[in-house]
Amino acid sequence: MEHNYWEERIQGYMDNELPPADHTAVKNHIEGCSACTAQLEYFRCLKKRLRLHRDTVAIPQCVEQRIIENVKKKSRRRFVWKPAYSLAMAAVAVLAIALPLQLRELPYCFVNCDIKGRITCTDCEIATKAGMQAGDFCSRGHNPGLIDEDGRIYRIALDKEERWENFMKREGYYGKLVEIQGDILHQENLVRVDRVRELVVETASL
């Protein structure tokens, strides 16, 4: 029993892992114990032998290269989570919840609003998005609408037709960038036009 007690500590002594007091105690014991001295010598040799044996297993160079290349390639593609992303995600989540709520809370009525966008035909836009030809849905004439910067398509309400008619009469209005002052029914993407102002795209001149 006593021998086992010392033997376990001999290893800690050899590995330099004992507290100073234990280290001294083991050292003193070894000096007077031939069995422990022999065992310590054996363990030392075994440790050296194992250390030498370690290198019998080595990664083949081609395997190492392959692994490193794969890791570099996949790590570039892999999304790395960072704490800052948590904030961004939280903000997106709040918006995702808040925006629909906001829309739901809006009264179902027209609200005064200005909107910028490009004059278009709503049916042509839908047809194009669906992979069809412009004009497929509106063979009897274009349905005036507006597409804003985010790609949302608004129909133009025809209850104020007179003002709209005036605008319609202008040549080449399709595709023009405009600002519409009027009212919007957000839930239906419907715009009533009070005034239309054509926006001039400024270009740099030499």
Binding site: N4, D15, I67
Partner: protein, 203 residues
């Protein structure tokens, strides 16, 4: 991520050595190392600068290894990662007179690498691991304890038993070669049967 490439990738060989000893085949070892490096990349912000990067990597690698082992076991595959301990009659010498007179001569001249490899493979995994980490990778008891998620005292006792079992197996070899003639006592009485090791992976 330059820091990752500079501090982690040079340890690929250490990872491979450990993976190979656990998995015992090149293909699993390669997969294990690659999975470890990829996971280390995604978790690199959790690595505490100044601590041992090898210990940190080995914690990851060991976790992946254990999960794969469990998964394969659940799926009923024959697992190449299984422990080779069962059926091996391990011996643990207690009499110092069994020791060779010149241990360095014996260990460096008489014991060839293939024999040492075989002796290591016969060790239960939880004993093999402390040998791999402390004796081969020269890690401290504390880092080893962190990797294996056990107390430092357990590292010390496992290491003691692991070395003694290894010593016993090599003594047995010495006896067969006629270098040592005295008999050594079995580690466990015959009726208890062979020691089964590495069960911690399956539980």
């Amino acid at each position: 991520m330059e820091e990752f490439y500079e501090s982690i990738l040079p340890l690929t060989n250490n990872l491979y050595r450990y993976a190979y000893r656990l998995a015992r085949n090149e293909r699993d070892a390669e997969d294990l190392v690659q999975d470890t490096l990829l996971r280390a990349y995604t978790k690199f912000d959790q690595y505490q600068s100044g601590t041992s990067p090898l210990a940190w990597l080995l914690v990851i690698q060991r976790s992946i290894f254990i999960n794969k082992y469990r998964k394969k076991k659940r799926e009923g595959h024959s697992v190449s990662l299984d422990d080779a301990a069962s059926g091996v009659d391990r011996i643990m010498p207690t009499d110092h007179r069994d020791l060779p007179a010149q241990p360095d001569d014996f260990l460096f001249r008489e014991v060839i690498d293939a024999e040492l490899k075989e002796a290591l493979e016969k060790l239960p995994k939880h004993y093999l691991e402390v040998i791999l980490l402390v004796d081969m990778e020269e890690m401290s008891y504390r880092d080893t304890a962190d990797v294996l998620n056990i107390p430092t005292g357990t590292v010390m006792s496992r290491l003691h038993r692991a070395r003694k079992i290894l010593q016993g197996q090599l003594q047995d070899l010495a006896r067969k070669k006629g270098i040592v003639k005295s008999k050594v006592r079995p580690l466990y009485p015959a009726e208890e049967g062979p020691m089964k090791g590495g069960t911690q992976y399956g539980t």
